[in-house]
Each structure stands twice: as structure tokens, then as C-alpha cells.
């Protein structure tokens, strides 16, 4: 057996980010006096440069390297770029917030960049081992980030909970992977797919493993019944971390679901579709109902996130109908569009909380948004865009995201799911509109002027405008999603 040096070119971005992580670690250690801003700027530089590298090394075909453990395709590249993008924005939004609370240590940025690397590994993995390692890298960094505000009891408690439950979920996932290995004799996704296709796999064992895989995926997505950590962790973590937690990892989890289920186990799609159906419907129902009674906006957004992830799953579960794979591309691209749309909306919603927070004050309650229109009509409008978009009001991006997954579900013939989803999103509109109502019709409780650095204001405005603009012209993003999937499948 001769060893061939692997082709590093497709993994250029991963290698770059890994090297930069070490550079950040060492440079901030030695340049202690400017470490905080150095860490931040190096981090942003890394993300931007990685985006250029990813786009630069992008090519339309699917290629493998590192003994087929690494896959490079358009879907991965697109998701990676979206991950850099959302991480960069999340870090930018959070910067002043962290500085106000004196937790803007260089380690924060180091962990963020390592977490990004973990997500990149997940997105580009073609092997269960690398998928798991990527997942652990991301999760470990996230556990630490959640507990980063270590003097806050809530933050450390949230970190602890997330860690223990995450470890349990990792265990379940690993168990599932080992079962899949037992059934097919390989851990490589294409090998698994091949084995299933040839009927060589031991099917009962494979399906047994599938249950655990689904459990692991669902935990990362935060859907019922693996959602219990979501509200507590979203609320407990400092808002800057919640912002990170609610955005890029969702894309990575989406990639994990796609790689494991579609790349690896597409031939037993009908089996996992049924399982996803259960969790998706449960999430949409529970997420929307539970969000209604939340006075804390972070908690409300956590439940809303649960229901959004349920919606996203609707796209994944309507790909194959009775052996007919006709709808698959459409359905999966609608799910991808949903995930991207959710990330964009989520960035803006937590960004608004950060905007209204200041040293010693967390704008966490819905009441803190009272009368925002009087304090800043423009940002009230931005928040209104976000809420409308999340509620699925027409001509915001969220509307098209919901529309496209519902179309996929209807095309697959699951009318009852579509009906439940529509009814639940109508109920869900209530709590989004309540925020709009308090902003516009109630008297402000908190009358302090809004203090925020210019870059946060500008970018948050742009984010709000993007939500509206993408709703007016969703076609481009939809086509990108469809094209990226088409070129990768």
C-alpha cells in the first residue's frame, strides 16, 4: 500500500483557518496589551480571507481528498461562505456588548475561530469520523463560549447543562455511527450509500443506528424532544454568545443532516423521513405554543427557533415520496433556503437585543422593547421587519422560506403537515406581532438613548434591509441554493 500525499488544494480554507487559529493564540499571548482588539481583528481577517479562499478555490465539480474523508462541492462552499459571513456579523454585533461586560478576552475570539473550523470540517466531511470530530470541535468551543461569562451563575449553569446534554447527544450519535459501521462496514458516506444501494447492508441494524443518528442531529438542530437545552442555554448565555449559537451552528447542523442522511442514507429516505416528520411536527407545535407565554425575548426566540428548525425539517422530509425522487432537489433546496433565511433573521433579532443592551442592562424582556418607535423609529422598523419576516408575513424573506418548504410538503402530498404548519404559524404570528405592538403602541419604559457603535448600527440596518430586500427578490438566493445542491448531488 503506497501512500500518496493528499491534495491539499480543496482544503485550503480549512488549513488557513487552522493556521490562523494558532496565529491568533500565539500573537494574543505575546502581545498582551493589545490582545483584545488584536484577537478581534485577526478573527475578522481570518473569516474574510477564508471567504476569499473558499470562493477562489471553488469549482463546480465534486472532488475528494484526504482518503475520501474530505469532500469539496458547491453546497459545502456555499454553506461555508454563509458560516463565515454569519460568524463575522455575529462577532461584530457582539463586540461592544462583550467590551461593556469585560469579557472580550482574546480567548473568546480564539474559541470562535476554532468553532468556525469545526463547522467547516462538518460541512466538508465525507466520513463519519471527521463529521464527529468537527462536531466535537464546534461543540466544545460552544460549551466554553456559553460559560464564558464565568462570573455569572446563569451563564455557567447554561454552559454546564449544554455540556452534559451535548455529551449525551454525542454519545447517541457515536453509537448510531458505530451501528451504521456494523451494518455496512464503512464510515465513508459514499461507501455507506453504496452498501445500502447494493443491499449489502444489514438493514435492521442500519435502521437501529439511524434512530440514534437522528437523535444526534436533532439535538444539534434543537428540535423536540431534543430541544430541552435550547431555551435555558439561549437565555443563560450572554447575548453575544446566543447570537453565535443561534446562527452558524444551525447551518452546520443542516450540513450534518444533509451529509449523513442524504449523502449516506438516501436509499432509506422513507424511513428517516417518517422519523423527521414526528420531530418536525412536534417542534412546530411545541415551539409556537410555548413561545406565546414567554416574557423573556431570548427565551421566546429560543422557542421560535425550535419551531423554525421544525419548518426547516419539513423541507428535508419531503424529498422522496413512495420511491419517487422527483421532488428531492426542490425540497432540499427549500430546506437550505430556510436555514439560510433563518440565520439572517436570527442575526438581526439578537442583534437588536444587543443594540438595546448596555453596560449593566440587558434588554431581555419584551417589555424592554416598549415604545421603541418613540426612541428610534428606524430600529423599530428593523425589528418590525425581523418579526414580520419570522412570522411569515408576505414579502419578507421569512415568507418565501415558509412558502417554499410548504410547497415542498404539499408537493410530497403531506397535506395534513402543511395544515398543521400553517395553523401553527398563524398562532406563532401572535407572539411576533406582540413585539411589534409593544414597540409601536406602548409607552417606553426605558427611555435611555440608544448607545451603540456606528458599525453595529450600520450593519444592523443593512441586515434589516436585507430581510426586506431578499423578500422582494428571493429568486437569486433560491437559485443559488438550488444550483449549489444540484451541482453537489
Amino acid at each position: 500500500m503506497n501512500f500518496v500525499v493528499p491534495d491539499f488544494y480543496p482544503a485550503a480554507a480549512e488549513i488557513f483557518v487552522a493556521v490562523m487559529a494558532l496565529v491568533i493564540m500565539l500573537s494574543t499571548t505575546f502581545a498582551r496589551s493589545i490582545a483584545r482588539s488584536l484577537g478581534y481583528f485577526l478573527c475578522q481577517f481570518t473569516l474574510i480571507a477564508a471567504a476569499f479562499i473558499t470562493i477562489g478555490t471553488m469549482h463546480g465539480e465534486v472532488s475528494y481528498t484526504f482518503s475520501n474523508m474530505f469532500i469539496s462541492d458547491l453546497m459545502g462552499d456555499f454553506l461555508k461562505v454563509m458560516i463565515y459571513f454569519s460568524m463575522a456579523i455575529a462577532l461584530l454585533y457582539g463586540r461592544s456588548y462583550l467590551a461593556d461586560r469585560n469579557i472580550n478576552k482574546p480567548e473568546y475570539y480564539l474559541l470562535a475561530i476554532l468553532m468556525t473550523l469545526g463547522m467547516m470540517v462538518m460541512v466538508t466531511s465525507n466520513h463519519m469520523l471527521t463529521m464527529y470530530i468537527g462536531l466535537e470541535m464546534m461543540s466544545l468551543a460552544l460549551y466554553a463560549l456559553v460559560a464564558f461569562d464565568r462570573d455569572s451563575a446563569r451563564s455557567t449553569e447554561a454552559g454546564m447543562k449544554y455540556f452534559v446534554l451535548g455529551a449525551l447527544a454525542s454519545g447517541l450519535l457515536l453509537y448510531g455511527m458505530s451501528m451504521v459501521y456494523g451494518a455496512t462496514g464503512t464510515l465513508e458516506f459514499s461507501g455507506v450509500a453504496q452498501s445500502v444501494y447494493n443491499q449489502a447492508a444489514n438493514k435492521p441494524v442500519l435502521l437501529f443506528g439511524l434512530v440514534f443518528l437522528i437523535a444526534g442531529i436533532c439535538f444539534k438542530l434543537g428540535v423536540v424532544p431534543f430541544h430541552m437545552w435550547v431555551p435555558d442555554v439561549y437565555q443563560g448565555a450572554s447575548t453575544a454568545v446566543t447570537l453565535i449559537l443561534a446562527t452558524a451552528p444551525k447551518l452546520a447542523a443542516f450540513a450534518m443532516a444533509v451529509r449523513l442522511l442524504i449523502w449516506g442514507l438516501f436509499d432509506i429516505a422513507e424511513q428517516w423521513q417518517t422519523m423527521l416528520m414526528l420531530v418536525a411536527v412536534a417542534s412546530i407545535i411545541l415551539g409556537n405554543l410555548a413561545a406565546i407565554s414567554q416574557p423573556n425575548i431570548k427565551r421566546m426566540l429560543a422557542y421560535s427557533g425550535i419551531s423554525h428548525m421544525g419548518f426547516m425539517l419539513l423541507g428535508l422530509l419531503s424529498g422522496v415520496v413512495e420511491g419517487d425522487r422527483h421532488f428531492a432537489l426542490n425540497a432540499y433546496s427549500s430546506a437550505m433556503f430556510y436555514a439560510v433565511a433563518y440565520v439572517i433573521m436570527s442575526l438581526a433579532s439578537f442583534g437588536m437585543i444587543i443594540l438595546l443592551s448596555r453596560a449593566g442592562f440587558e434588554a431581555e424582556r419584551i417589555d424592554d422593547f416598549k415604545g421603541l418607535n418613540k426612541r428610534s423609529p428606524w430600529f423599530a422598523a428593523v425589528m418590525m421587519f425581523v418579526m414580520f419576516s419570522m412570522a411569515g408575513v408576505p414579502f419578507f424573506i421569512g415568507f418565501f422560506a415558509k412558502l417554499s418548504v410548504l410547497q415542498a410538503v404539499v408537493a410530497a402530498g403531506y397535506f395534513w403537515i402543511a395544515a398543521v404548519a400553517v395553523v401553527m404559524s398563524v398562532i406563532g404570528a401572535f407572539y411576533y406581532l406582540r413585539v411589534v405592538k409593544v414597540m409601536y403602541f406602548d409607552e417606553p419604559v426605558d427611555t435611555a438613548p440608544i448607545h451603540a457603535p456606528a458599525e453595529l448600527r450600520v450593519l444592523l440596518s443593512a441586515n434589516g434591509i436585507a430581510i426586506a430586500a431578499l423578500g422582494l427578490a428571493p429568486q437569486a438566493l433560491m437559485s443559488i441554493c438550488a444550483y449549489a445542491l444540484l451541482a453537489s448531488l
Partner: protein
Amino acid sequence: MEFKTFVFYFLSAILVFAALRVITARNPVHAALFLVLAFFNAGGIWLLLHAEFLAITLVMVYVGAVMVLFLFVVMMLDINLERLRQGFWSYLPVGALIGILLVIEMAMVLGGRYFGLDAMPVPPEPMAGFSNTRELGRVLYTDYVYPFELASLVLLVAMVAAVSLTLRKRKNTKYIDPSLQVSVKREGRVELVKMQAEKED
């Protein structure tokens, strides 16, 4: 019954017993020691499968390093056992029910039907001079170099996380920076001041 089969069942029985005791033992130190026992038996089973290197590593790393560290931690932290056990009995029935059902369901799949010798045949005896360690080492640094490198980064994440979450500078510490001590110059130690012998009016 072949001798190997007897050894397998013997080790497995102890393994299962030890694993059960890990979660049922009242004293955390005992629990940790049972875990050590479980690791030893798992190592034994691996030896039966010709995975000598892994077996040795398991004992060395987990028993020799991790568990010893863990034992120290457990012994140093004074854990209130009664608080930990609160609610244990009230949750036991439901938990046990679900647990037993899960075990039954798992047994349906994991039983001999799919994992018996006909479904999963014994791997062929290795040739003479076959080195488990060498084989592992070879694939680890060639085919698996990517996950190997990534694993090192995971460890880095863990290190950074642990340090950043726990390292604190105490305010009342009496620590003196040696580099400052060394770099002190004569002028810094004693300062000669010129002054009048008498006070002028």
C-alpha cells in the same frame, strides 16, 4: 466450550457488573474504582480480539492517567452524597421502566440474530509477525492523517476552554514576577538623595 469463549464470558460478566456498580455505588470513590475495573476488563476483551495496542493504551491512558486524576478530583471535592441522591427513588420507577424497555428493544436488534457468528464472522487469524501497533500507526499517519490532525485541534480547543474558564488572577496574591526581579538595576534599588544637613529657615 473453548477456553477463549470462557474467558470472553468471564471478562464480559465482570465488565457488565462493574459498569452497573459505577452508577449504583453510593460512594463516588468506589464508583471510580469500579470504572477502573470495567476498563481493565474491556482491555482484556480487546486483547482477545488481537487488538493488543488498543488494550494496552486503554489501560495506560484511562486507568493510569485519567482515572487517577479523576480519583484525586473526587477525593478532593467533598461531594455531598445525600444531595446527589435526592429524588433518586422517586424517579427510579419511571427511569427503570424506560431503561428496561430500551434494553429490551436494543436486545431485539443486538441479539444473536444480526450479530451472531454467521452474520459477523470471526476475522481470520493474523499472519505471523503481524503487528497490530504497526498497522495502526501506519494508517493513523497516512489515511487518517486528516482526522488525526483535527483531533489535535480538538484537544487544543479543550485546553483553551479549560484555561480560559478556570484561570484567575488572584488579587491578594504575593507573587513576584521573576523577570522584573532579575531586570532590576542598581539605580532602581537605592536612590541617593542630596539634602541639606540642617533645616533652613
